[in-house]
Every structure is written in C-alpha cells, then in structure tokens.
C-alpha cells in the first residue's frame, strides 16, 4: 500500500504514458508540459490534428477523448494517459471517406482545410448525440470552431447533409 501511494504521488519531470489513438497503442516518455495536440503530432506522427491558436479559442485541434470532444491544446498528454483517442485520421476507412467527410466534400464544407479536422471531430460528437439537429443546433455546436474561409454556411450545410445520410 505504501509503495503504491508513493508511486502515485511521485513528482516527475517525465512520465511514460500510453495512449490508444485510432486503435493503435502509443507508449512514450512525455514531459508534463506537452499538450495532447503536440503528442499526437510529434510523437504519434498524426499531423491531421491542427494547431491554430494553441489556447482553446479556434477549435482546430479538437479530438475525441474516450468518445467526447476535447481541445487537444488544452489537454496535457499526461492527462490522456490510458485514454482512447480518435483523431481526424480515424474517420475514413482506408481511402473511403465516412459519410460526414463525404458530405463536407460534396457541399464544399472546406476551402483551405485548416479548420476542417476540428469541424469534423466536433460534428462527429454532435451527430452521435443528436442524429437530427436543426441548423441552429449545428451553428451553436460549431460556434467554438473558427473558419476564416467559408463563412460557415457550407459547413452547416455539410453537417445537416451528413445527418441526413447517416439517418439513411
């Protein structure tokens, strides 16, 4: 018991953490200051998660942590130790886009594409919780994700179209 307690309260400069990302387990030594976003990009090599503002405003780095959306720039990698993560790379199956990605493609839901990973991950959570959202609900859900190209209309249209496709 004593050993366990001292183990848990050990004060560390680095930690070995294991994170399962899109079905693959990654184990690495990690400084506490490393954000989950940088861990995904640098340690896992998954650069689909984009960093725009790095302080939780733009939403580009949104990923799913244990099924729920989180800002990867506001989550330290050490906090995700043991968690299951889905990033934008986990949406398609090989070269086959999932219905949400396809709807973005068909509705011009992206222009430069920088914000798109965050948009997709935020919308993934929305559609899992609410398969039939109206446009106002989509707009509210995406209000934490900034896009500098589209003016949002085509993104909202994409999400609504995806919802229709996924309902079948």
């Amino acid at each position: 018991m004593t050993e366990l307690a001292s183990e848990s309260t050990a004060q560390r400069d680095t930690l070995s953490i294991t994170v399962t990302v899109n079905g693959h387990a990654y184990t690495a030594d990690c400084e506490p200051r490393v954000t989950l976003a940088d861990f995904l990009r640098h340690t896992c090599g998954l650069t689909g998660t984009h960093l725009g503002c790095e302080h939780g405003v733009c939403g580009a780095c949104t990923v799913l942590v244990d099924g729920r959306s989180a800002r990867a720039c506001l989550t330290l990698a050490v906090q995700a130790d043991g968690a299951t993560i889905t990033t934008v790379e986990g949406l398609a199956t090989g070269n086959t886009l999932n219905p949400l990605q396809e709807a973005f493609w068909d509705n011009h839901g992206l222009q430069c594409g920088f914000c798109t990973p965050g948009m997709l991950m935020t919308a993934t959570e929305l559609l899992a919780d609410n398969p039939d959202p109206d446009a106002a609900e989509v707009r509210e859900c995406l209000s934490g994700n900034l896009c500098r190209c589209t003016g949002y209309d085509s993104i909202v249209r994409s999400v609504l179209d995806a919802a229709r496709r996924m309902r079948g």
Partner: protein
Amino acid sequence: MKPPAVRYARAGDVREAVALLAEHGSDAKVLAGGQSLVPLMSFRLARPSILVDINRIGGLDRIEQDNGSLLIGAMARQRDVELSDVAAAAVPLLPQALRYVGHVTIRNRGTVGGSLAHADPAAELPAVVTALGGDLVLEGPGGTRSVAAEDFFTGTFTTVMAPDEVLVGVRLPRLPDRTGVAVEELARRHGDFAVVGVVAAVHLAADGTVDLVRLAASGVDSVPVRLHAAEAALSGARPTADVLEAAAATVDASIHPTDDVHAPASYRRHVARLLVQRALGAAVERSGAER
C-alpha cells in the same frame, strides 16, 4: 505558445494532494480539467513549478442529493452536471447556466471545482453559487472547512483558499419545486465570457407573492455579486411589472463595474439593470411549472 517546463504529480487521494500543496506552497497548482490553467500556462501567465493532478482521485466527481442540498464534487465535469437529472431536479438553475459556459467541448473537460477556484468574475458558475448562497468545501492540512460563497471570492481570480487547500466540492441548497429560474447574459458571441450576466430564481407562494428570490450578477465587480437589495424589494411582494422595475432600480447601488476593453462601466450598469429586470420576469413566468 507552449506551456513552460513543469513537474507533475498524480494525487491518489485528497490527502496526498494537500501534502503536495503543503510541500510546494504557491509554486504548486492543482490541475483539474485544465481548461483555464493550461492556456494560462501557454501564455506564460501562470508558471507553476509543479502540477498536482487531481483527475484520478476517486469520488471527487459525484453529483448527489443529500439532506435538502445538492452536493457536487470538484472534479464533476461541467457537461456531466449540465446533463445530470439529479442536478436538474435539485437546482434547475445550474444546467441552464452551464449552457453559457464555453462550448460543449470545453464543458466536456472543464470542472465545476476548477471554474469556482479560478474565480473569474465574469464566469457563470461563481454567480450561480453566489446567488444560491452555496457553501464551498475546502480540505487542507488541518482538515475540512466550509466557506459561504459570498466569503469565498475575494477579487479577480482570487479566493480565500490557502495555497495548501484543495476545493473538494460545493453544496447548493435545493430549490423548492415550482421555482422559476432564468439566466440572462450579454456576450459578444455565444460561449464567450459575459460582459454582464444575471442568474435568478423565484418561487411564488400560494397567494402569488414571492416567498423565495435569489439573484446574482457577474461581470459587474471583481467578484460575483449577490443582489440583496433587489431580492429584498421583491421578497413578499406580488411580482408586478412595477415591482420588478423597482427591484431592478436597486441594482445600480449594489455593483461596482469598471471600464475595460469590452465595455465601459456605464454600459455595464445599464445592461445589468436591464438583465435583472428580464431575468426576474422570466423566472416569475416560469415559476409554478412542474419539473
């Protein structure tokens, strides 16, 4: 930017967290959801030497009804409280106010305790806890103590918590059935911190007079402000339009807004009075409904 180098310790229980804080004093910071602390570190506005992670302490995330009050553990995620039937039944003001906190993605990780300990004077949760006269439960080396909300917040981002104390939870009195609640906020965009926010709860007696009113404003002082004079003006009265207007007129003397980049103080005064009138009106209208 990136957070600066920092050491890290995972507390197994509250006692361990307190011991770590006692060892490191104000160089240590408690890490809960990290939705305020991590960006502050990235901006280098906070440079703790060690983070004390309380995320893995069992039982700190409870949401329970107990003896006429709602008990929320410090690590309860804001989104979980927002969606909790237990919280909605006991304190319906809470889920309503939480919808104004950031975005779903932020609330998924952000915690009730983190928001209260961070003590942003424009934030919603401190205003709710202040309006309802909640108690904050702190644990330190000497044991546990309970602090009333109006004594807890002492200034912008400042509370009475000692550097070696951990906020473990908050206790809110249950609102009687058929209490009407309302949140009114002026913000530039949904999810932004409010320029001014008002939270209200009103219960009517069988004869139509107000027998319970709770009211607080955010963004109008360095701390959330319980609007006692407005409550007194409404208490025992029939909530006619004139009475609501008279109650709102008392607000000016209760608040101390300052000019900043978002709005001048005079505008905040004007908006506070308006939002109080709206929030009281909405709460009165919603009172009497079953929940």
